[in-house]
């Protein structure tokens, strides 16, 4: 099933961390296995923020193999060494869980090569790189993940998130949403649905040098859009292409540093409720997600089949 939620404040910042947590918690019944946030936060915009993990959360119903936590430290050292070799200067370092890190760093070279090198280290996965994107995902519901990573006070302009019910892949962080739009900074995707031409598309994209970190069909959307944008398409053009390029049923959100978009498949088989005003757009799989931050009476609607919309901050 899965639940997705997103919001964008136009012309101002807000407490998007706590707002998205409320929205995702309201959708917990649609996906209790893991929760993910892509928050576009008020950062200074000078340095890159890299979120990465060196292992999996092996508790809370995880399907991952248990590892001795000492390997996390070894992998972190390897990452630090590799960053030095690549010419990245870490200016701030936070260890959020034994397996999850947030680095602020100065780096001015190609992100694709950079990511390939970092992820060549065993079990290391970059969750996101961006100048405003903070991508956090872990097992548990929205409140648990927010508390674990201290998201309640994060201010920013927009955010998307996901409450996952694991179906076609494991209960683990690598299969959790959002997915980073590798190798583009500040691009993230969440999805509700099933893609039926995942393997066909994946083979084609891998032959073009794109990378997949999981076997979750939703990751395809992020990679698909990233590849379109790498070839010069705008975000909206890539999303419109996806309506025919992706087969199956889906509603997905994609966010960049200054925009938020939604796309709904031509069968309109997956739900989405949308609220739109001059200064705020809020949307979710169910109206209760929107009501969790806007309890007053408002006008909402369901986008139609094959609809693509993009909003700017």
């Amino acid at each position: 099933m899965c639940g997705i939620a997103g919001l964008i404040h136009r012309g101002k910042s807000s407490n998007v961390g706590s707002e998205l947590q409320l929205m995702l918690q309201a959708l917990k019944h649609r996906g209790p296995d893991s929760t993910g946030y892509a928050l576009y936060a008020e950062n200074d915009g000078k340095n890159f923020i890299m979120r990465f993990k060196v292992g999996e959360n092996v508790g809370e119903g995880s399907t991952s193999v248990n590892e001795d936590s000492s390997v996390y430290d070894k992998r972190k050292k390897l990452v630090d060494n590799m960053l030095g070799e690549l010419g990245a200067k870490v200016t701030k370092e936070d260890r959020l869980t034994p397996y999850s890190f947030r680095y602020e760093m100065e780096f001015n070279d190609d992100l694709m090569e950079f990511s390939k090198k970092i992820e060549s280290i065993e079990s290391v996965e970059i969750l996101s790189i961006g100048k405003s994107l903070e991508l956090i995902k872990d097992l548990g519901d929205a409140a648990a993940v927010s508390e674990r990573y201290g998201l309640g006070d994060v201010k920013g302009t927009h955010a998307i998130g996901h409450a996952r019910m694991a179906t076609e892949s494991g209960v683990d962080i690598k299969s959790a949403h959002p997915f980073w739009g590798y190798p583009f900074s500040d691009v993230s995707v969440v999805h509700n649905g099933q893609l039926t031409n995942y393997w066909n598309n994946r083979r084609v994209l891998e032959n073009k040098g794109m990378r997949f970190m999981s076997e979750c069909d939703s990751e395809l959307i992020a990679v698909y859009l990233a590849e379109k944008m790498r070839n010069g398409a705008t975000l909206e053009e890539g999303m419109k292409d996806s309506l025919t390029g992706l087969d199956g049923v889906f509603t997905y959100f994609v966010a960049t540093k200054d925009s938020l978009g939604m796309a709904k498949d031509t069968m309109a088989a997956k739900p989405l409720v949308l609220y739109e005003s001059d200064d705020l757009v809020a949307m979710g799989s169910e109206e209760i997600a929107i009501r969790s931050i806007l309890p007053q009476e408002i006008d909402t609607y369901d986008p139609f089949d094959g609809e693509v919309k993009v909003w700017q901050i």
């Binding site: 409720v273 009501r291 006008d299 369901d302 089949d305």
Partner: protein
């Protein structure tokens, strides 16, 4: 189950003009008998007074508790209940088999007012997916928009949305009337079997896909026709009925219904030719 060969029942139903045919073979049908009081009331239904009115704030209730409170209020004779703060909760107002005026001051989530038989419902807000699914009788008016599967499998009554609705409106509809003041999404009338759908605005792709029977009227543009859905000429009785229905629905009294497009089943589905003559007659 009534015995079809009981002359007394057959005579009563036929004398009221409720049916004319006599089914044979394995097909069974229970005929309405106005002399049997149980035909008018469900077991456990309450005798309510429409002038007895109360409010129910469901802000801090889950759907089970809210629905139980509605039932309790009906048992106390309340015939008009105003629900405050529904706030998009799912499954509110379901399974009401009673006469009742039910008013929601706000929006509903999924499966709102499903499986009802009899109440008059007004929602001063929006409704989510599968509103009024399996509705048997009564009248439901939605003041704003509705999600997908609006009126799925309804058997009777009038289901009205003054705004726009999502995809698969009237999917598997078996009777009654669905009226939409705005636009409708893809697969409207998908596999509908009887009843009528009126869309005053535009509809999406695959209108009436695989419909067995029933009629769809569209006031605006049609994205595309679904399999076995075809246009049919509007008749005077269509126009008269549409005028009356839209007036009753508080929608478009001055709307030019004569310009609407009428869509029916082409009846070329493979199994249609396999029906027995009496069944075919009943289906038409």
């Amino acid at each position: 189950m009534a015995n079809l060969k009981t002359a007394e029942k057959k005579t009563k139903a036929q004398s009221m003009g409720l049916h004319t045919e006599v089914l044979t073979g394995k097909t069974q049908q229970k005929f309405f008998n106005p002399d049997e009081a149980e035909n008018f009331f469900y077991w456990g239904a309450y005798d309510v007074d429409f002038n007895k009115r109360t409010d129910l704030d469901v802000k801090d209730m889950d759907c089970k508790e809210a629905n139980r409170r509605i039932d309790e209020l009906m048992s106390q004779g309340y015939g008009t209940i105003v629900i405050k703060n529904p706030q998009g909760k799912h499954s509110l107002g379901v399974g009401i088999l009673n006469k009742l005026n039910l008013i929601f001051e706000g929006s509903l989530g999924y499966f709102g007012i499903g499986s009802i038989d009899g109440p008059m419902v007004r929602v001063n807000g929006r409704v989510g997916w599968s509103c009024a699914e399996n509705m048997m009788a009564g009248k439901v008016v939605i003041e704003k928009n509705a999600g997908s599967c609006f009126g799925a499998a309804i058997r009777g009554g009038d289901l009205i949305c003054k705004g726009s609705v999502g995809a698969r409106t009237g999917i598997d509809q078996k009777g009654g009337t669905i009226i939409v003041g705005g636009d409708a999404g893809a697969f409207t009338g998908f596999m509908m079997q009887r009843g009528r759908i009126i869309i005053m605005g535009d509809v999406g792709i695959n209108l009436g896909d695989s419909m067995y029977d029933g009629t769809i009227y569209v006031g605006g543009k049609i994205g595309s026709y679904g399999s076995d859905a075809i246009e049919s000429p509007m008749t005077k009785s269509d126009i008269d009925w549409l005028k009356r229905k839209l007036k009753v629905a508080e929608l478009g009294e001055n709307f030019d219904v004569s310009k609407m497009t009428k869509v029916v089943a082409g009846k070329k589905l493979w199994n249609y030719d396999a029906l027995e003559p009496t069944e075919k007659k009943g289906a038409i």
